[in-house]
């Protein structure tokens, strides 16, 4: 009997948390479209979430492109590999690995930072103070982070795509002795516009998830330093899981036709 009660409590808690997240997301999205807009805050967040994540995303993309080239070459049929490596690196990076790995890296960096910052603001009553200063905390804190992440993630991923393909090119031409001109031509010939845009659409959705999870867990943190730590961990874990789940759903939708 106690087992049923325990399971019931967990299910109810999960449903309640899901409901809270849905309401929080709805409030955030509804404020995204309504003035006032805090442009200074949005700019600051674009710097923090986008610009300062660039080195992490660039390094991840470069090594991923390089490793992908090696794996395709060693694991596949080495006959005709000059065409296959270039093609699969380009498609793999733009369609999947660029947005997913970029999203996960930014989730680890930005989602944690957002949750820690807002969590500290929550436990030190700074969020309450905003309300007493005629400022809506959702508008001032959540909207700029959502907007910045939605706008900067596609840019980051686009740069990551270029660097990832470049990583494959470097390994292909320097280690595997492919002809540089042929590698570039194969990449260019097989890569289609939709391959790139599908990855960028995914990146925008991942940006929304990253900022939403950071804000949600930070906003709802309680219990001092331990609570902030828990919020930070939860933000990264939930953002990562939602990114992987959303990636599956979007891949199904975008490539089913």
């Amino acid at each position: 009997m106690n087992i049923f009660a325990a399971v019931g409590r967990v299910v109810l808690a999960l449903l309640a948390e899901t409901g809270r997240l849905a309401v929080f997301a709805w409030v955030g999205v509804s404020h995204l479209l309504r003035p006032p807009f805090y442009w200074r805050q949005i700019g600051q967040q674009m710097l923090r979430i986008g610009y300062f994540s660039l080195p992490v995303v660039a390094l991840t993309a470069f090594f991923t492109g390089g490793v992908l080239a090696l794996q395709i070459y060693y694991g596949g049929d080495q006959f005709n590999s000059e065409t296959i490596v270039a093609t699969i690196v380009a498609l793999g990076i733009t369609r999947e690995l660029g947005p997913v790995l970029g999203g996960l890296m930014v989730a680890g960096r930005a989602s944690a930072a957002i949750a820690a910052e807002l969590g500290t603001m929550r436990v030190t009553e700074q969020i309450d103070a905003l309300s007493t200063l005629s400022t809506n905390p959702h508008k001032y804190l959540v909207v700029p982070r959502l907007m910045a992440a939605i706008l900067t993630l596609p840019l980051l991923v686009f740069i990551g795509d270029v660097i990832g393909i470049f990583g494959g090119f470097i390994v292909g031409t320097q280690t595997l002795d492919f002809n540089a001109g042929v590698y570039v031509k194969n990449t260019y010939d097989f890569l289609e516009y939709d391959d790139i845009t599908s990855g960028l659409i995914k990146a925008a959705v991942f940006g929304f998830i990253i900022a939403l999870m950071g804000c949600f867990h930070g906003f709802n943190s309680k219990g001092g330093a331990q609570g902030v730590g828990r919020a930070t961990t939860n933000a990264v874990v939930t953002a990562s899981i939602f990114i992987l789940a959303a990636n599956y759903v979007m891949t199904s939708l975008l490539f089913s036709s």
Binding site: E125, A129, S131
Partner: protein
């Protein structure tokens, strides 16, 4: 009969099974200073946060100038909340902003004032709490506890609010700095002609800044009267509290060794 600026009637609030406000009734006359005393966990902070809309009461009414804020539409409620300023117990200063921007925050974000103009007012307000213009360029982390309280006070009065809340204004300060803060509160409130509601454990502070004192116990106001009457209230709970005695009707939940 004095005109009521703020009136709480039968306000209830519970968190889960824990009853925090159990039918609060409190009237704050216009232009007067009411101090609510009471032990930790008796509902003082939740009472203030209920008025400000940070916590949503379960039932009852909260009238500001005769308007029940619990039943007002959101936009009208925002207008009413502009009448309030608040000094938080821990200061709740925004640690990402310099001191002057903390003080001018309500002017810039709440009243859309230009930053240059808001900075001038912020520096003037800092002077009113005994701080030089150079402090305006510092960040909250660079200030002592007493300075943070004074900046918090400057922020609370910068928008010239009609009603000011003080949450434990002297907690954590040495007796001399506590008295400085008390004097500043009295002076600045007289300047503004504001109505104030304070909560504190500090009887010296309560005696100094109050016109009326109320005592809260287990989520109810159990005594209310002029500050001159607090020493002969005839209420054994009030007597125990103001004399700081361990013995009496108020029993702390402490396990005896």
């Amino acid at each position: 009969m004095e005109e009521a600026k703020l009136k709480l009637t039968d306000v209830h609030k519970r968190f889960g099974s824990k009853v925090v406000l159990n039918g609060i009734n409190l009237t704050v006359p216009k232009g007067k200073s009411v101090v609510v005393i009471g032990g930790s966990g008796t509902g003082k902070s939740v009472m203030l946060k209920s008025v400000l809309g940070i916590v949503k009461p379960d039932s009852g009414s909260i009238e500001v100038d005769g308007e029940d804020v619990m039943r007002l539409p959101a936009n009208r409620k925002e207008e009413v909340l502009k009448k309030f300023g608040m000094l938080f117990q821990g200061g709740a200063l925004f640690d990402s902003l310099p001191v002057w921007e903390n003080v001018g925050f309500g002017l810039i974000q709440g009243q859309n004032m230009r930053r240059k103009e808001a900075k001038e007012i912020a520096i003037d307000t800092l002077a009113k709490v005994g701080m030089g213009a150079e402090v305006g360029e510092l960040y909250p982390a660079e200030l002592s506890g007493g300075m943070q309280k004074r900046v918090g006070l400057a922020r609370a009065i910068a928008t010239a609010p009609e009603i000011i809340f003080f949450d434990e204004p002297t907690t954590g300060l040495d007796p001399i700095m506590a008295d400085v803060i008390n004097d500043l509160i009295i002076e600045r409130v007289q300047d503004l002609g504001a109505t104030t509601l304070s909560i504190t454990h500090d009887m010296a502070s309560a005696r100094k800044i109050a016109d009326y004192i109320a005592m809260i116990y287990k989520g109810e106001i159990i005594w209310y009267g002029k500050k001159e009457d607090v020493d002969h209230s005839g209420n054994e709970y009030v007597d125990q509290f103001i004399h700081g005695r361990a013995e009496g009707p108020i029993q702390m939940e402490i396990l005896k060794p």
